[in-house]
Symmetry: C2
Subunit: 442 residues, 2 copies
């Protein structure tokens, strides 16, 4: 058998009448009297294998096997239109078990994995093998690839941002501390300072890397480890250039997902967010006024949108502008990081913005301060240790163009497109305050 070359399952329909060597996992097994049907799964698809005898009937789901058999056309009435290989089946001649599997703790053969989140995650090494879970990760791969492709087409250079950083530029307590030799360091909450430094180098840069947030609460849309899709670029004429690049990028991503993931979207009854014309842009105070008029809830003096506000502004955007996505800009300057650019016409508010989609935040971005003196002044006022961000300030001391950028969370986009109830489903190995692979006990 060593001489035979493996045939991938997707190639079997073209091998009718031939003997093939297949390798894969037992997806499901059904015994009909003396005849056994096995659905065999490999990376390329599923095929029905049929035969009689102990060799086949003793198999169990997730056994890893090799089989030698003959590909045969199925009779018309037995064709399975749901399978790409549904017009054929493989008549088994020899079965070799490469690896056994214990009895599964639940049925993996169903179209929908109907498990609670803890069970889904406690059994992650198995549940990831289910078609729905694989589809989520493949959609995410397309999202990330599309982000890269979109920006490369616009002359952006990819760089590797560091994860271990000396200071917390964004402030806040939601940061992980690392014992760094004899010193204290932190895990990056964002590659912000580094992508700005790199804007001074390549003018247009992006990075795809992990960021870390020690979120002290468990919600359906926060993770402790996130894949951040970051972009930053120089020589903008206005903050609206940043909005435009962000819109270009998300539209590119949505287009790629719609073209490459049709079947995967269907598995989740998911649709690509609709954008009729342009994604609308509203200032925070305008958004709050709109929400007040629609809901009679008065949050017009708040410095941010509440989760309810985010849902309300999305409803407005869809009804009034035909868009499931909406940019909200001009948050209070004091409530955003020190590097965000205050609006010259009204410096109490800044030229930062969020992209809200289907009721929650997908992206954050904005124009940044490029003036060295103002940046140092803001950093001090915001309580950042300027000695520890010396490398960052150096970039501005030696000439930095007007610039801005944005950052998407890959898991948030995945969640938003597929309509996942919990963001933990949007990542293979979610980290939160209750779990690192297994549940943490108190």
């Amino acid at each position: 058998m060593g001489i035979m070359k493996r045939t991938l399952i997707c190639e079997t329909p073209k091998a009718v009448g031939k003997e093939v060597l297949l390798k894969g996992w037992v997806n499901t097994k059904r015994d009909h009297g003396k005849i056994t049907f096995v659905d065999l799964r490999d990376r390329s698809g599923i095929v029905q294998v049929v035969g009689s005898g102990e060799e086949l009937s003793s198999l169990k789901p997730e056994y890893v096997i090799e089989i030698v058999g003959e590909v045969k056309k199925r009779p018309e009435n037995l064709v399975n239109p749901k399978l790409k290989t549904g017009e054929i089946e493989v008549e088994v001649k020899k079965v070799t078990v490469l690896s056994k599997a214990e009895e599964l703790p639940f049925d993996m053969g169903k179209e929908v994995l109907d498990l609670t989140l803890p069970v889904l995650l406690d059994n992650r090494a198995i549940t990831l093998r289910h078609p729905t879970q694989k589809a989520i990760l493949k959609v995410q791969e397309v999202i990330i690839d599309a982000f890269r492709k979109a920006l490369k087409e616009k002359d952006f250079v990819e760089f590797q941002a560091p994860s271990i950083i000396p200071e917390i530029p964004e402030g806040g307590a939601d940061v992980f501390e690392v014992k760094y030799f004899d010193h204290k360091a932190y895990l990056a909450q964002s590659p912000q300072l580094y992508k700005q430094i790199m804007t001074g180098v390549f003018e247009r840069v992006f990075s795809i890397n992990k960021i870390f947030r020690a979120e002290p609460s468990v919600t359906t849309r926060h993770l402790a480890e996130v894949v951040s899709l970051d972009a930053e670029f120089g020589f903008i004429d206005s903050w609206l250039d940043v909005v435009e690049m962000a819109e270009y990028t998300i539209r590119y991503i949505l287009k790629e997902v719609s073209e490459k993931c049709e079947k995967k979207l269907a598995m989740f009854n998911a649709t690509i967010p609709q954008i009729k014309d342009k994604i609308p842009v509203v200032k925070l105070r305008e958004a709050q006024e709109i929400i007040f008029k629609r809901t009679k809830i008065d949050n017009r003096k708040e410095k941010d949108l509440s989760p309810e506000d985010e849902r309300a502004i999305c409803e407005w955007a869809l009804e009034e502008k035909g868009s499931e996505l909406v940019f909200v800009s001009h948050y209070p300057t004091k409530s955003r990081p020190f590097y965000t650019y205050p609006d010259p016409d009204d410096p109490e508010f800044n030229q930062g913005f969020d992209l809200i989609g289907r009721g929650f935040e997908w992206m954050t971005g904005g124009r940044r301060i490029e003036n060295y003196e103002l940046l140092v002044e803001h950093a001090k006022e915001w309580g950042v240790n300027i000695e520890k961000i010396g490398l960052y300030l150096q970039a501005f001391k030696y000439g930095m163009p007007p610039e801005g950028g944005f950052a998407f969370g890959a898991e948030r986009i995945t969640q938003g497109i597929l309509g996942l109830k919990n963001i933990r489903e949007g990542t293979a190995f979610p980290r939160d305050m209750e779990r690192v692979d297994f549940r943490l006990s108190k």
Copy 2:
């Protein structure tokens, strides 16, 4: 000026006779009496700008400016063949300073940045703007993209491996501890266990992510943060299938770099490693025998190659096999991680291998144990807490094919191809026990 559209510098040779708006950094400036020459730099190239008057003569290196000027053909005798735009120059009409720069601490206009490593890194936000430093990062971008492209062509799926992990599967003390809420966790030394889990899901997977090593010493080839290029795949017939895939991948990378980085290689007088035929494969004990015969230094009972041994075996491979790369396999089983596959013919040695190139390690890989019981037995024997790797073991409990994989360090390949003296030059923001952006004091 707001109405004019920006012209990129690379487009100027096609705009002779036209008025253009250029934006960029002052690369260098030379005053010749009343006439000032400025080399202006943007992401697309460098162009000579010429004019008279205070506006231009008051500029300094790294000032960020906008200029409006007319593109003119240079007289034959003033053409600069070193510049892509050397046949033209831009006669300035208007200069606007967008951002000033302080006096540079050293001359950035030279072809080679002749600085000590500490000065290079203390001034990283500036030194990264030098052509040689940009070239290093662009070559690395090509290496990483080529790794992705090579594996996608072979049906591999990219996944995101976690950085925060609950246990140290590789053993050793060279690990960073993270304060994870009320618990202790670690930064991943490798995505090893996760890529194996994912092999049970997609059969062929790769990941590109940061790994972390708390190296307690300062060498020219170790970093605390590394970009790891990891691959893992199932249904191998033998460990040699893993060697073959690793060879395919590194050859693919070298080919892409040679095609896309010709000028950048020339900046470093660098050549792509030569491989005459196949990359030779020798067992550790054979390699030690060869080294003993050549050098009379007897390391034939050591469990690993010393740095001197690595250089010696590379000399042998080049002289005898015409290859600057060589695989060394079959290290003592006990000296490698618990998951490495012992050779059935001689279980004291395993089917793991390293790729040595130009005197140091570029890659490590091997076949892994896929049998659940043996894996648990090894894990216990190696002192790994099997409760904390429960998710990993779960993958093997439920059917795992014969499999293996490999991991490259992106910075090591960059160093190896370009012949960098210190690996710190091969990364934008190196981390080691002495530095996190700035030098750490004791």
